[in-house]
């Protein structure tokens, strides 16, 4: 596929790891500074009180839970896509899977921070954990937040292992290439991987089982996140559609995040030969599909609410569609449906740039979607006397920005420490797939090529 020899592949993909450019430092310092700002904001919030955030009565959940749902959604990029592609043996998956899995792990780590950040007394967060303690009180396993705890932990463990297992052979590769102290580190990380056929076979079997298991985990994670809302009798939250709706939205935002990450990597690490139009196109098509699925869910949700005409729900519905949140709502529709639909369904526009633009729009739109699910419902609960509004504060905005920076920083560090494309999988795929000259612009040509060189 890449038309490169195994040696060239190794050189190309290990170069970003072994050679450090000023760009890495620039990116790390810049992103790190933002992360530090976010940590400072969090520290301020801890010492002064959660009141420095904009949450209030009745909008007890705001940016933090929006970010939580958003990042947990983005985490579906990854493992889910990579697992599906692995199971379906999609040949173009090979340069994509590791980045996707890394997104999953980082997005989960960031997302899982938010329930802690948003706590009124975060220093007591360990009370969510079932451990035998002096006070002899265990968490309430009926609470969706405890379900979250279990689901996210399972997903985090699963996807981390899913990322790390296929990393081992590449670590072995690094062990051979690296010099100095890093060599020792990689040697430890490689766990003594030898690359015997026996080990390869085991790895593949394990990956196969993991891929099968990680899909229901991912589905359940976002379903449970949706249950955080659906279990509460809040207008427009208390919905049976929320489980699949959230999962679809999660995959949707996950693909978008993956496309954006790939585009950045492609440019920053000069991986044009590996991340080709083919990949963006294929993921773009998936994105288009998910956009349509998402739109279907939004339509179904809003139609039934409108038709049902339950006063409390309609109050929220209209607050969103034509009330104070209308601007955000229609921006969301534009970002999540109109723009992706245009960019991705018209072949001429489905370039790398086009796909990336659509993906950026989807990320914005999906963040808005999370916000619009959470906040408007809380501003308009059952008793109109207690209706309210919500304005985020600088602290919340800083922490939100910092998490995006944290995502970037983790990615930068990860791609610095490890090959961001699975080298052995790429080599393996290269040998199995026909050689395609780089720079091809058309999928059909790839197909034709494939037929020509069986």
């Amino acid at each position: 596929m890449t038309g490169k020899t195994a040696k060239e592949i190794s050189n190309d993909l290990l170069r970003p790891v072994l050679d450090t450019s000023w760009r890495f430092y620039a990116a790390a310092v810049l992103l790190g500074a933002l992360v530090v700002a976010g940590l400072a904001a969090w520290g301020h919030q801890m010492s002064a009180g959660i009141g420095v955030a904009g949450i209030n009565r009745p909008v007890f959940w705001g940016f933090y839970i929006t970010n939580f749902v958003f990042w947990i959604g983005v985490s579906h990029a990854g493992t889910l896509i990579s697992a599906i592609l692995r199971l379906t043996h999609a040949p173009w998956r090979r340069p994509v899977t590791r980045a996707a899995e890394a997104i999953t792990v980082f997005a989960l780590m960031i997302g899982a921070m938010f329930p802690l950040i948003h706590l009124g007394r975060p220093w007591l967060a360990f009370w969510l954990f079932p451990y035998p303690s002096e006070r002899r009180i265990w968490p309430n396993v009926r609470s969706p937040l405890v379900w979250d705890f279990f689901a996210i932990n399972t997903y985090l463990v699963g996807s981390t292992l899913f990322l790390l297992l296929p990393l081992i052979p590449d670590l072995a590769l690094l062990r051979d290439r690296a010099r100095g102290w890093r060599r020792h580190v990689y040697r430890l990380c490689a766990l003594g991987w030898a690359g015997t056929p026996h080990q390869w076979r085991r790895l593949e079997t394990a990956m196969h089982i993991m891929a099968i298991v990680i899909i229901p985990v991912a589905v359940s994670v976002h379903t449970i996140v949706s249950f955080d809302f659906a279990m509460a009798p809040v207008p427009m939250w208390h919905s049976t559609i929320f489980g699949p709706y959230f999962v679809a939205g999660a995959i949707f935002s996950g693909i978008a995040a993956l496309i954006v990450a790939m585009a950045v990597l492609r440019r920053a690490l000069r991986l044009e030969a590996y991340l080709q139009l083919l990949h963006f196109e294929s993921l773009g098509k998936l994105l288009l599909l998910m956009s349509l699925v998402w739109t279907y869910f939004v339509f179904a949700e809003r139609l039934t609410t409108w038709y049902g005409n339950e006063p409390a729900e309609v109050a929220v519905l209209f607050a969103v569609e034509r009330g104070p949140y209308a601007g955000l709502f229609w921006a969301m529709v534009f970002c999540n449906f109109v723009l992706p639909f245009v960019m991705l369904s018209i072949k001429r526009l489905r370039t790398i740039t086009g796909t990336v633009v659509a993906s950026l729009a989807v990320l914005v739109g999906m963040w808005l979607e999370r916000f619009l699910i959470i906040v408007p419902s809380l501003t308009r609960k059952y008793l109109p006397y207690s209706w309210g509004t919500y304005q985020p504060t600088l602290v919340e905005i800083t922490i939100t920005a910092a998490t995006f920076a944290a995502m970037g920083l983790l990615f930068v560090l990860f791609s610095k420490a490890f090959p961001i494309i699975s080298i052995w999988e790429l080599k393996e795929g290269d040998r199995r797939a026909p050689v395609v000259a780089p720079g091809l612009v058309d999928q059909s040509m790839v197909m034709a090529d494939r037929h020509a060189n069986p």
């Binding site: 195994a6 056929p197 080990q199 089982i209 359940s220």
Partner: protein, 181 residues
């Protein structure tokens, strides 16, 4: 070539690709070398699968299933046990709420599968092992290593020859007498 390697008692050859490696393995088998002593290493999975000792691959799914079962039991016990040990009434719900406990049971089941799979992988792949394996740099360049562990001293020549034959190993390395297993 580097000092670490000198401690191993092994003879190996570096083959350019799987085909070469396959023919070398054929030669070695023809020499009647103990199959368990033949070592093959590559930086990517080889197309030709039976280059080394054949292994039954059926164990891992069963281990995974067992892990899932343990997880399920643990999950349900944790949930229901918590509820029964501290029977607090909430929201007019029963003390043991089966529906909600299904969620935790489900998550713990899948966690059990995942952990069991990974543990099974590590055990069966004999990972981690902290002593260096054979790591000829050419492996990472795409070459395939085929070698014989603790070759009988008397047959070293035969083995070297076998490694070279049939367009096999381009380079032969012999290492010291120490066992590296």
């Amino acid at each position: 070539m580097r000092t670490r390697k000198a401690v191993r008692n092994v003879i190996y050859g570096i083959c350019a690709d799987d085909d070469a490696a396959a023919s070398v393995v054929e030669e070695l088998r023809a020499l009647d070398v103990d199959a368990r002593r033949i070592v093959v290493q590559s930086s990517e999975p080889l197309e030709i699968r039976d280059l080394a000792v054949p292994h039954g691959s059926g164990a891992m799914p069963w281990v995974a299933a067992l892990g899932g079962l343990i997880g399920a039991v643990a999950g349900f016990t944790l949930a229901a046990g918590t509820q029964q040990l501290w029977p607090l009434s909430t929201g007019a719900m029963p003390i043991v709420t089966l529906r909600t406990n299904l969620i935790i049971t489900y998550e713990m089941t899948l966690l059990g599968v995942i952990v069991a799979t990974v543990l099974c992988f590590l055990v069966t792949a004999r990972l981690p092992r902290w002593r260096m394996p054979l790591d000829d740099p050419e492996i990472s360049e795409g070459a395939v290593l085929v070698g014989v562990l603790s070759p009988p001293q008397d047959r070293a020549h035969d083995i070297e020859r076998a490694l070279r034959e049939g367009g096999g190993a381009a380079r032969i390395v012999t290492c010291g007498p120490e066992d590296w297993g």
